[in-house]
Symmetry: C2
Subunit: 446 residues, 2 copies
């Protein structure tokens, strides 16, 4: 998903350049920083008379205070409540009254809120969004019932999903001693004792103009947008000084771990192996690009090694693939997964994947595979649906994890530079089975 | 070890009662609390003209601030440095000048310092110990070189020991999201960036009279000891108010995990399986006693099931046993281990252990086994070496984890109450393989 998001930017650049200006290799993205530290990014997208307005905060579940997991995500709920200016639900009503869409999402790295509306409504959206950045009214009367709503949400998303249960513990094993081990929604027993004072402290610390990036993508003029932003966000006075995000890190060594979860509700067993791998943000030059292409070669397309060998040739799996989640602020993961076909044993499909990985580590990839993967990688992107929301998400996530617009305009060039040696090098560097986290999801017998 | 420590108290009571007063079922232990909150416990032990003086602090590695693991243990080093009253090493010189012994130890739950000396030196020991509780002089000149000493200590204890490496990660898996996941000595990368300000803050927060328990065991008079304590410890003015120990807890669910560590240096493979189990401090009535006896029945003696079946009968292991570490302030562990004999595969010895556990869960234990285990349990204790230091340690650990002297005088009675049903119940409640953490230590091939 993230790989796709990131790569979409390239397509967008290519497409818009092809249409607007063959000679200008840079997209027409404008960045501003207001006096209170708030950043504004305006991305032209004139395909339709709509605008997507997103407020990104450089705070996520990895910033949940120790023992208070779930507090970052809690704001996905609280931010839709009343402020000292507007009643509970007034913002949402305004959005739906004009046929707009709105939503919010939380990751370990960030929290974001957005509306997709007519450009005529942008000023209003900014007014509402700027208001709830600082004027949220938090009371026990709304906090406690919302905590129950979140517990119910967790129950539905995690506790009723065997794969989600397993995934929480696999993640904790991969990111031992790192806040990426925290489930975004929070551990149940910690959500249950979150207090309103925790929310107030968190809001006060992080919901500040210096911690926000406003992304506006759509049929708008940058200078006009800046004017609107100044009139709304520009008036916010930060009540605290910028806080450092302080994250613990994992020990560099790690011991191979296999997690096995059996549950009566499992109808489809599955297998996964993950390795710690550097994200776009922290990778050494060329490594992230190589990991992306390696993932494509091994399991990212219809012509990948896993697809050809394990799914089609050996008929052991109904699905087998690779993943690399490069888009994160700190250490990320690279991995493989497989879903056994029919009565195939999980162990047998795991062995087939392992054999492919052993072959990769021994013989490496070929130039032909690399060339094809590069093409496939781009084709996948071209055929994928891009949307204005996706576009705004790309920039928001890139900028909140510490990247720049320039980092991404150079992406196609960086992909082109990847060699067979680069790929073999990252494979041998990161795919060490003795440092991997394997997850086995199985039905519970009897 | 801890089981032994705890049980020793029973022997001591029995022995001393038998000699001193047949009619008094309680040992002559005296407890005092000084005005500044410091507690004093005096344990009579007149077997020899020696006294063991211990200062216990209710702070340990589980209180290491997030990202600063190793700071509690760091004090084992710093407390032997100079104070505003005495030069670096002056206390230690005073102890060795009179032929005394001294040392310190840190656990997740506590940190303690002790001297074993002539009763004539007790006043002096208290003077020094009270002084370093508040007057330690911390400078960069002593902090930074000591950090290197600790990194070297860690390297020797953990990084050069494959089993210790594996054990750190097994512990982290068992105690996910709990500070018991922290290695006592600290994670290497976190020790490396500990700062003097961290130490100062930690010292200021926890090294206070209200957080200390002074245990004096030996040939001393309680009232006289109290007088000495008042003249030394009693003069300390706490500079902060009592702090709550705030620990996060593990999610109640857990997914079965197997950790495998292969290392060229492993000459003897080994296998272990641990389950979360309540400690003496948090167990429901009777559960801790039942777990202790279950551990004895399964693998705690020469006549245990593992010893008879796996070591002697099947000849699969050179050692196979059970463990229960009841002595901790929060959630603890129960488990099994085995060391394969000769060329026996780790998998085969693991299967043999599993078969014994399956049999236990299916058929339970017998009354005869329980009776024998109770006897064995007591015999083991009687034949074990008790020492004054051990005695003082028992009380120090019991009191710092929240227990009382009375909790322990009732221990033999509580053991006597355990029934076959109690044991079968805790076995079925806690020994769930789907929630276990298995560790496999193997030599690295080639």
């Amino acid at each position: 998903m993230h790989r796709l998001l990131l790569s979409l930017i390239f397509v967008f650049f290519t497409a818009s350049n092809a249409i607007s200006n063959e000679n200008d290799p840079k997209p027409n993205i404008t960045e501003f920083t207001l006096e209170n530290g708030l950043r504004l990014v305006v991305i032209p997208d004139r395909r339709a008379p709509v605008v997507t307005h997103m407020a990104w905060y450089k705070v996520g579940s990895a910033d949940d205070p120790q023992g208070s997991s779930g507090i970052a995500h809690f704001f996905e709920h609280l931010m839709f409540k009343g402020t000292s200016t507007y009643k509970d639900g007034e913002f949402s009503s305004a959005v739906s009254a004009i046929g707009g869409q709105e939503n919010a999402f939380t990751s370990w790295d960030y929290t974001a809120y957005y509306q997709k509306v007519s450009p005529l409504a942008l000023a209003d959206m900014m007014k509402f969004e700027a208001d709830r950045m600082r004027n949220l009214v938090l009371t026990e009367e709304l906090f406690l019932p919302e905590r129950d709503v979140i517990l119910e949400e967790r129950s539905g998303r995690v506790d009723r999903s065997p794969s989600a249960i397993l995934s929480e513990f696999s993640r904790a094993a991969l990111h031992v001693n790192h806040p990426y081990a925290i489930p975004i929604i929070g551990w149940e027993h910690e959500i249950a004792k979150l207090k309103m004072v925790d929310a107030i402290a968190f809001y006060e610390k992080w919901y500040q103009p210096w911690n926000a990036i406003i992304v506006v993508a759509g049929d708008v003029d940058p200078q006009e947008t800046l004017k609107l932003a100044k009139a709304t966000y520009g008036k916010i006075i930060a009540t605290t000084k910028p806080s450092e995000r302080e994250w613990t890190s994992s020990p560099s060594s790690v011991v191979a771990q296999t997690l096995e979860y059996k549950d009566e509700r499992v109808t489809q067993p599955s297998w996964q192996r993950a390795f710690r791998a550097p994200s776009y943000s922290i990778a050494q030059e060329g490594e992230a690009e190589a990991l992306d292409l390696l993932s494509t070669i091994m399991g990212g397309s219809a012509t990948s090694r896993f697809q050809k060998e394990i799914v089609l040739e050996q008929e052991l799996a109904t699905a087998a693939g690779a993943f690399y989640q490069g888009s994160s602020r700190d250490m990320s993961s690279f991995g493989f997964y497989a879903v056994p076909r029919g009565d195939t044993k999980l162990e047998d499909v795991a062995k087939a994947v392992e054999a492919q990985v052993d072959k990769l580590l021994k013989d490496g990839v070929t130039q032909e595979e690399l060339d094809r993967a590069r093409q496939v990688y781009l084709k996948t992107i071209i055929f994928s649906q891009d949307s204005q929301i996706t576009l705004a998400r790309i920039f928001g996530s890139v900028l909140t994890i510490g990247g720049s617009v320039d980092d991404f305009t150079s992406w196609p060039d960086r992909l082109r530079k990847v060699t067979v040696e680069d790929i073999n090098k990252v494979a041998r560097k990161y795919l060490d089975r003795n440092r991997s986290i394997t997850s086995r999801l199985l039905p519970k017998e009897g």
